[in-house]
């Protein structure tokens, strides 16, 4: 299936780009005129994935994060990727409340938020290479 529209952006792993990424994703999806709730869910899920890339992928060192949005007639696909340290055990990482950084007051709920707020979530990761998150959301209309 061909997307109706597509965009891709890359930015440095700076925490100020968390807000940038969720605003960009939401404005891109807004052209399909989805409900306010759908946009709010997308904003939250993007914030989780981008924050994970910055906090865990790069441990707050400088790296590149990419975000791609593909717009289809009835859904959107969002792909967020980093080239940082990767995840050893993906199943364990997705477990609610699991975090490797309790010292930073992370709550271990990021993946659970992405899974709950989006319709699908796929995680591809390799230690030392990086992490790719692929999420989709059905676009219900007002």
């Amino acid at each position: 299936m061909q997307p109706i529209n597509r965009m891709k952006t890359e930015f440095l792993s700076k925490s100020s780009n968390e807000a940038f990424a969720r605003v960009v994703a939401a404005s891109f999806v807004a052209q399909a005129d989805p409900s306010i709730d759908v946009l709010a869910d997308i904003r939250t899920a993007v914030s989780e994935a981008v924050t994970n890339a910055i906090v865990h992928g790069y441990d707050d060192t400088e790296g590149i994060v990419t975000m791609e949005c593909l717009l289809y007639s009835d859904h959107v696909e969002i792909i967020i990727e980093d080239f940082g340290k990767g995840i050893k055990d993906i199943a364990q990482a997705k477990t609610p409340l699991f975090t490797t950084r309790p010292d930073l007051e992370r709550s271990g709920m990021g993946f659970t938020v992405m899974e709950t707020f989006m319709d699908s979530l796929e995680v591809e990761s390799e230690p030392g290479k990086g992490t790719k998150i692929r999420m989709t959301k059905q676009l219900e209309y007002r």
Binding site: S15, S16, E18, A19, R22, A40, D41, R43, T44, S47, E48, T51, I54, V55, L104, E105, R106, S107, M109, G110, T112, V113, T116, F117
Partner: protein
Amino acid sequence: MDVKFAKEGNTLIVLIEGEIDHHTASRARARIDSKFLMEPVKNMVMDLSRVTFMDSAGIGLILGRMNRVNSVGGKMTLRKPKPEISKILKMSKIESIVELDA
């Protein structure tokens, strides 16, 4: 994001305005913790009525403050979250640990 403080008896009222994410939470955390230490207060009310966005960093911010307040025998209350953030509050089950004052 902006954090404002008020005092009611031995309760510190923390009014958070704007968006809570990993970027804004670290500064808010430092400001709230030093205020809570400085003032002769025991309890904390976090007023969320002006929070327009919150992700899991907000859950960490709330639970971290709750632990501090509880460790001095105080009580933590969340006040008036907007519908925009009540989905994540419900999902995280924060409402079953922290008192909610709608």
